[in-house]
């Protein structure tokens, strides 16, 4: 400590002592020699895949290409060409590229076994490894040997590995391995039953890196159903709901209902018919009849920042999020809080229902938002529920005379979510 100790120093020292006693902090002193290192190693519970820069959904129209047998699908950017090819060792295989010329280039390299690197544009082939060629062992054990084999098969002495093979999760669902070379990517994703090889080459790997990685991210094993790109927006028939006092608005599907008690209780429940009521009951038993959680829906509760000593200029909601997650009864945290559009925080919780719990700062208000499905329905409605969270706005999007109210804020309830 340098200088005269202050009250803050004392608080800090006491907290330090307490953290040492509680086992939250363990300090060791290294005395063998002077070690002036700075290393901050943080371990996260989730397993993140390798930080390869990817563009998961390349812009522009894309066609979902399902191969004949439905083993895999990928998305073909608009204007690209494709052609089914036959390769030894592979079952269904598709060659495609940014031009017919690029497709031919791929065929030259892999079917006709001529030199790589003589084509312009981006070309790729994706093939399902013939099941008969696979030894009877778990597929993840075959990923590395396959990468090595593909590297050896590219008949070009100038092929150089730039990023060594590393584990990667393709499109957030199929695990495997990805290697970046001076000619392009070699990807070996697999499902439980199927091993795929994707090789994407370009004459300008640096410029096309994102495009190439983006296509690899669209690989699905098995095929994406229906051939449509999953909806990321609220379905067209959505409605903007505003509270009667215009303090808050949100966008929900057209057939949902909103139970607005913002003016008197600073709470609003939304959901597909009965679901709204069940959510309202879970937070404010006085406002709705007792019902068990069902359907998709959630809550919006407004709190003034002053209630939690949060600085509106620089709202740090993380402590509050811990508190909100701590207040949960009968829920567990499935995904810890992540930032959403800057300062907001969103976590995924699971209990009798499963979904998003978010804290959003607006001016001097904090909005506590939930958007939940049931255990079974959440994954199907995930994007829609997150869009509802993102659509919440204070004051309501069309400005009213919302000066905010002075009424009492809700107290934490013992039922369900528990609020803040």
């Amino acid at each position: 400590m340098i200088g005269a100790p202050t009250n803050d120093d004392e608080q800090c020292l006491r907290a330090l002592a307490r953290q040492l006693r509680e086992g939250k902090l363990v300090v060791k002193l290294f005395l063998r020699y002077l070690l002036h290192a700075k290393r901050y190693l943080l371990q996260q519970p989730q397993i993140y895949s390798a930080p390869i820069p990817v563009n998961p959904q390349p812009s522009g129209d894309q066609t979902v290409v399902n191969n004949k047998s439905g083993v895999f699908s990928f998305r073909l950017p608009e204007g690209w060409s494709q052609q089914a090819i036959t390769l030894p060792m592979f079952g269904d295989t598709v060659a495609f590229g940014s031009s017919d010329h690029a497709v031919q280039g791929i065929i030259d390299v892999f079917v006709n076994s001529t030199q790589a690197g003589n084509f312009h544009g981006v070309g790729e082939f994706i093939g399902a490894v013939d099941a008969k060629q696979l030894a009877r062992e778990p597929l993840d054990g075959l990923v590395s040997p396959m990468t090595t084999q593909i590297l050896a098969n590219i008949r070009n002495e100038s092929v150089q590995v730039i990023d060594q093979p590393q584990a990667h999760t393709f499109g957030g669902q199929n695990s495997g391995q990805i290697t970046f070379t001076n000619l392009g990517y070699i990807a070996v994703p697999h499902s439980e039953k199927q091993l795929l090889v994707g090789v994407v080459l370009s004459n300008d790997t640096n410029a096309d890196k994102e495009v190439m990685a983006g296509i690899l991210e669209t690989i699905h094993i098995p095929s994406e159903s229906g051939g449509t790109i999953p909806a990321t927006a609220v379905p067209a028939a959505s409605q903007t709901v505003r509270s009667s006092d215009q303090r808050v608005s949100l966008i929900i599907p057209g057939d949902w209902v909103a139970l607005d008690h913002i003016a008197d209780q600073t709470i609003l429940a939304h959901g597909d018919s009965a679901a709204a009521q069940t959510r309202l009951y879970s937070a404010k038993p006085g406002l709705a009849p007792q019902t068990a959680i069902s359907g998709n829906g959630g809550l919006i509760i407004l709190y003034p920042m002053s209630q939690f000593d949060i600085d509106p200029q620089n709202p740090d909601l993380s402590v509050l999020m811990r508190r909100a997650l701590g207040n949960l009864q009968g829920y567990t945290v499935e995904q810890t809080a992540q930032t959403l559009d800057g300062k907001a925080l969103v976590a995924v919780i699971v209990g009798t229902e499963r979904g998003y719990l978010a804290l959003l700062p607006f001016g001097d208000q904090i909005v506590y938002v939930t958007a939940m499905g049931t255990q079974a329905s959440f994954s199907a409605n995930q994007a829609m529920l997150l869009d509802i969270v993102k659509s919440v706005h204070v004051p309501a999007v069309i400005a009213g005379n919302g000066l905010g109210g002075l009424e009492a804020t809700p107290v934490a309830t013992s039922a369900g979510l528990g609020g803040l």
């Binding site: 953290q19 290294f30 809080a337």
Partner: protein, 93 residues
């Protein structure tokens, strides 16, 4: 992708605190430990439950013994830190 913290536009503290909120376990190795530095991170560690898998382990590498401090205080020439060099590293191995 590596992020480079220059503490001008990219602040290490901000990133560190953000990351601390998403984790329950951290291993820090630092040269010096100063209370005001810990004060910045303290509240982010507090919500952790403590114990082996949920704690922050801190290794402090640069220690000045009281004797050294006295020696430095009374020395005529300021004594420089003596960081480890390659030769010493080989010897220690």
């Amino acid at each position: 992708m590596p992020r480079i913290f220059d503490n001008i536009s990219e602040q290490l503290q901000t990133a560190l605190i953000q990351t601390l909120h998403t984790t329950q376990r951290a291993d820090f190795c630092v040269g010096y430990f100063n209370l005001c530095g810990w004060g910045l991170l303290q509240s982010s560690i507090d919500p952790w439950q403590g114990g082996v898998e949920h704690q922050c382990r801190l290794l402090i590498g640069t220690h000045h013994s009281p004797q050294e401090d006295i020696r430095t205080l009374f020395s005529l020439v300021g004594k420089l830190d003596n960081p480890i060099d390659n030769q010493q590293l080989v010897r220690l191995r």
